[in-house]
Symmetry: C2
Subunit: 176 residues, 2 copies
C-alpha cells in the first residue's frame, strides 16, 4: 500500500520551513511520497531531494499545480483521501477502519486556509485533537498511529550518512 | 506530574512559526507549560497566550533567557530532563522506564544547533527515528507515546470557543 502526503497551499516566503518539516516528517515516519501544491518553489524541492539522497530510501518529492485535479485522479484510481483538520472526526475513532482497508492513501495537510472542496473530496476529515496546533504534529501522530509504531524501525536504503543511536553525543557514520 | 517543554534557541525572524507550532503542540498534546529560550520575542508569547485564552485550559507560557540556569535548577528540584535529538537513543526503547518514574519532566527541543552541554545535562537524549525531520513532529510523537494516547481526550477548561468534531465541514461553538 502506497502512502502519499499532499501539502496544500505552500507559500514560498512564509511556509518554507514548515513545508520542509511536513515533507521530512512524511519521509521519516513511513510515507512513500510528498506532493507539494500552492506556490511553485524549486528551492524547496531541491533541498528536500538533497536530504533524501543523503539519508537514503526511495522517498519521492514532486510539485502539482492543480491539487484538485490530482485528488480527483487519485480518487478515480481507487485511493482513499484522508484530510487532517482540527474540525474533523477524532482520528483515534477511525484509524482501525482505515488501517484495515488496503487501498492506497493520500493524506492531505493544509496551510492557513483550506478550500471547502477539500472537505467534500476527502473520504475522511480527521482531527488529531480538536485544538489548534500544527499540521506537522498532526501528520506525525497520524502516521505513527496508522503504522502502529512499526515505521520507527524502517531502514532507508543506500544512505550516504547514518546515525548510530547514542545515549550522549553524536555518532554519524559515512556509509560506503 | 508536571510536563514542561523547553524550546531552545528561538530566533525572532526565522523561527516564529515553528516555535509557535512547538508551543501549541505541547499544549494540545498534554504538556502543562512551555518555556521559550533564545532571542526574546514578546510578540510570540502574546500570540500563544491569546490562543490559550481562547481555547481554554491552564497552559503556561514564559521566556527564560538563561536556559542553562533553568535546566540546572530543574535538575536540583528533582525533574527529569529529556532532550529530543535525532542522535539519541530510540525513544521507544526508553519510554516505559520514563513513564514509570513519577518525577516532573522537562522535554527539551532545539532549533538548528544545540549546545553540547544540553546532551550532558539531559538524563535522556532520545530520538524519534534517527532521520532528519522536525522538532515539532518529534515532540508530538514523544508526548503521544508518553501519555499513551490519553492526551487526546484531554478537556481544556473554560474555553471561549470549542470545536465539535464533524465528518465534513466545521462546527465551532462559542462557549458561554
Amino acid at each position: 500500500m502506497r502512502v502519499t502526503v499532499l501539502r496544500l497551499g505552500h507559500r514560498v516566503f512564509r511556509d518554507k520551513r514548515l513545508t520542509t518539516h511536513v515533507a521530512l516528517t512524511a519521509r521519516a515516519l513511513g510515507a512513500d511520497e510528498v506532493v507539494l501544491s500552492g506556490e511553485k518553489d524549486d528551492g524547496i524541492l531541491e533541498s528536500i531531494l538533497d536530504i533524501c539522497e543523503r539519508w537514503g530510501g526511495h522517498f519521492k518529492v514532486s510539485y502539482e499545480k492543480n491539487w484538485k485535479g490530482f485528488l480527483e485522479r487519485k480518487k478515480r484510481e481507487g485511493c482513499e483521501l484522508i484530510h487532517l483538520t482540527m474540525y474533523g472526526l477524532q482520528h483515534q475513532t477511525q484509524i482501525s477502519e482505515i488501517r484495515k482497508s488496503k487501498k492506497d492513501k493520500v493524506i492531505i495537510v493544509g496551510s492557513e486556509k483550506v478550500p471547502t472542496e477539500v472537505y467534500h473530496l476527502a473520504d475522511y476529515n480527521l482531527s488529531v485533537t480538536s485544538q489548534p496546533h500544527s499540521e506537522v504534529a498532526a501528520l506525525a501522530v497520524f502516521l505513527h498511529d496508522f503504522f502502529e509504531g512499526k515505521e520507527l524501525e524502517k531502514e532507508f536504503e543506500k544512505p550516504k550518512v547514518k546515525v548510530v543511536p547514542k545515549a550522549c553525543g553524536k555518532d554519524v557514520r559515512k556509509e560506503a
